[in-house]
């Protein structure tokens, strides 16, 4: 498709989502940065820090003809787990609060993820980490607990998704 970004053609698109101004909410962008700094994405994958701009990206993806086969959303999610725990979560399991979460980073709007999966046939994977602290006021610092989760999540993505794209 004309003007479509290169990452539309990838097998796997990894999107680091969240607001780096809100402590542990910066988890997703930190994972994307970590991966991009330490390894070059294989030809079949792209890793993007989309911050709070994920809605624009998802929207364009939904309306595009060409799409990646799989999208991995990396995000901090309050799911009542142990702080720093990294886990996979299905779209159905994401807390309802996220649907209208305008308090912190208002993304990644579940309806868009559902549309991508159900109407566009894209495999949607959500890799989450339980934040220790998402402050109510702007505060750039991520907790040490979450910094460890960043490494764990990045290792998981490398092993599970990036190796596969290399082969």
């Amino acid at each position: 498709m004309e003007y479509a970004p290169e990452y539309y053609d990838k097998e796997t698109l990894i999107l680091g989502v969240g607001n780096i101004l809100f402590g542990d909410d910066g988890f997703g962008p930190a994972v994307a940065d970590y991966l991009n700094e330490r390894c070059r994405a294989p030809a079949g994958a792209a890793i993007l820090d989309v911050g709070t701009g994920v809605r624009q990206i998802l929207f364009n993806l939904i309306i595009a003809e060409q799409k990646p086969r799989r999208i991995v959303i990396v995000d901090a999610l309050q799911c009542g787990r142990t702080p720093g725990e990294v886990f996979l979560v299905s779209i159905e399991e994401i807390p309802d609060k996220k649907v209208n979460d305008f308090s912190v980073h208002m993304v990644p709007t579940l309806n868009m993820l559902r549309e991508l999966r159900d109407l566009c046939g894209v495999e949607v994977v959500v890799l989450a980490a339980q934040p220790e602290n998402i402050p109510e006021l702007v505060s750039g610092e991520m907790t040490e607990t979450m910094k460890k989760a960043v490494v764990e999540a990045a290792d998981y993505i490398s092993e599970k998704y990036l190796k596969e794209c290399q082969e």
């Binding site: 498709m1 004309e2 003007y3 479509a4 970004p5 607001n19 780096i20 101004l21 993007l48 820090d49 989309v50 911050g51 709070t52 701009g53 994920v54 809605r55 624009q56 990206i57 929207f59 364009n60 939904i62 309306i63 595009a64 003809e65 649907v99 209208n100 305008f102 308090s103 980073h105 208002m106 993304v107 309806n111 549309e115 109407l119 109510e136 006021l137 702007v138 505060s139 750039g140």
Partner: protein
């Protein structure tokens, strides 16, 4: 006694909670739009080097990063006391116009437009992107192409489109090559064709069918604020602020003097403040006699501009004005005004790309830290955006204040929702179409609610008050 709560307003960027209060007879006695949001950004930046502001502010919100980016860059220009060279200024304006096109196309076709294209009574399951693609496949294909194209244009100009860093204090960091200019021109021509098509299509096929709704839904009478150039023409990147009252009389002032005109009213039920024109008297959202209330965003800019300096958009402005007067007050006309702006930006992009200055390699000037105050403003797609920074002699921020667009429409949105609810919900009777019409009222303002609240210190603002016909509070529900 019954309280209807509509949540969320599904296609607004961000979200809002609307509470409609009914009296014993089932008629609307009050309605409020509450934003569940808080930030604290202005405290966070204290002590930081001011030159970081254009980069940090794009992280506030991914919906309109360019507006914050450019307002911050302009504020830092003022802090450092420099004027960017012509190419730096024009490259910034070009990015602003492209970002506008990206936003306005999204809003018209997919956020607000879905109401029109599919009809307010349509089921929620089809009132979305896929509904439009199914109904107007050829149009949708072109819209999709131009959406991707505008993102590509910003990438060519600025290196990256998501969290831009190209605007810097003193100018723009990346000069434009001749080859890039040629490529951008071809793209801008396509965007221009879509803008022309959209205007014509809407005037022929969409607006006529909704004129009755336009005349009734969310109608209030207020003043307007926007930016104009020295000759009174529309300008979205630079100029003076024009505050126009509800009867069309106006006063112009420099953005740096905004505090002489704009004050912020506080309501106990909302953390989001209510900016108003303090020179018009004490704040009141009384529908019959509002005081101090002004609106921003597309309709406001169309109203305050004497003219538009691009031919097609100016012809549209004249046609609009002859049909609806100046200032036009009908709220749903925001959509019409948005298309005139889309056309203006498409024309302006082509003008800027033909400007010989645009490929000059002199795009920035050097800056030196100093103690100063600097105010920068742009017209964000959603309205006037003001960044106000003060620094110490090392160039570190000692004070920051942001007046964001949606915040300024806070009072008008509340008033329009109340008006719409009163007109459409009678004797406790309503259906999905009516409730969606209330949502339509909000969507006309295209609010971006994520950055509409600022510098707050605590709880989430969410409160439902239930009052009777005599105004006595019977119950209060708050989540804080």
């Amino acid at each position: 006694m019954k309280t209807l709560t509509i949540q969320p307003v599904s296609r607004i960027e961000g979200g809002a909670k609307i509470t409609i209060e009914l009296d014993d007879a089932g008629n609307v006695s009050d309605a409020r739009v509450t934003v569940l949001e808080l930030r604290g950004f202005e405290r966070f930046v204290i002590g930081r080097p001011v030159e970081e502001m254009p980069r940090i502010t794009t992280r506030i919100c991914g919906v309109c990063p360019w507006s914050h980016h450019l307002a911050a860059a302009k504020a830092t220009d003022a802090v450092f006391g420099v004027t960017p060279p012509p190419a730096g200024r024009k490259l910034r304006e070009l990015c602003n116009s492209i970002a506008y096109m990206e936003e306005h196309i999204l809003h018209f076709y997919f956020l607000g437009g879905a109401d029109f294209v599919m009809g307010p009574g349509a089921d929620y399951s089809v009132r979305n992107v896929f509904g439009i693609v199914g109904k107007l496949p050829d149009v949708a294909r072109q819209v999709v192409k131009v959406r991707h194209m505008t993102a590509k244009m910003l990438e060519i100009l600025a290196g990256k489109a998501i969290h831009p860093v190209a605007a810097v204090p003193g100018g723009f960091s990346k000069p434009l090559t001749e080859e890039e200019r040629q490529k951008l021109k071809e793209m801008a021509k396509e965007a221009f064709e879509l803008a022309k098509f959209s205007m014509d299509y809407a005037k022929k096929n969409i607006f006529p069918a909704y004129l009755d709704a336009v005349k009734t839904v969310g109608v209030i009478k207020t003043g307007f604020l926007g930016t104009v150039a020295n000759d009174g023409s529309m300008n979205l990147y630079d100029g003076k602020l024009r505050m126009m009252d509800a009867d069309g009389k106006f006063e112009d002032f420099e953005a740096k003097d905004y505090l002489d005109h704009i004050a912020e009213h506080v309501e106990p039920w909302s953390f989001v403040k209510f900016p108003y024109n303090k020179n018009w008297g004490a704040f009141s959202m009384d529908l019959d006699n509002p005081v101090g209330i002004y609106r921003v965003n597309t309709l406001a800019r169309i109203n305050v501009a004497d003219k538009i300096n691009t031919p097609l958009a100016n012809a549209e402005l004249e046609e609009f004005r002859s049909a609806f007067g100046r200032p036009a007050q009908l709220t749903l006309l925001y959509h019409w005004a948005r298309l005139i702006e889309l056309l203006y930006n498409a024309e302006r992009c082509l003008e800027l790309l033909d400007d010989p200055d645009i490929t000059s390699t002199e795009t920035r000037v050097a800056v030196t830290p100093r103690a100063a105050r600097g105010v920068g403003h742009v017209e964000a797609p959603r309205g006037t955006l003001i960044h106000d920074y003060t620094t110490d002699e090392k160039g570190l921020v000692t004070k920051a204040n942001l007046i964001v667009a949606t915040c300024q429409n806070n009072a008008p949105i509340n008033m329009s929702v109340k008006q719409a609810a009163q007109a459409l919900i009678k004797d406790g009777k309503y259906d999905q179409g009516i409730l969606n019409t209330v949502e339509m009222t909000i969507r006309a303002y295209d609010p971006c609610l994520s950055c509409a609240s600022h510098d707050l210190d605590g709880r989430i603002a969410c409160k439902i008050s239930i009052v009777n016909s005599r105004g006595e509070v019977l119950d209060t529900l708050a989540n804080a």
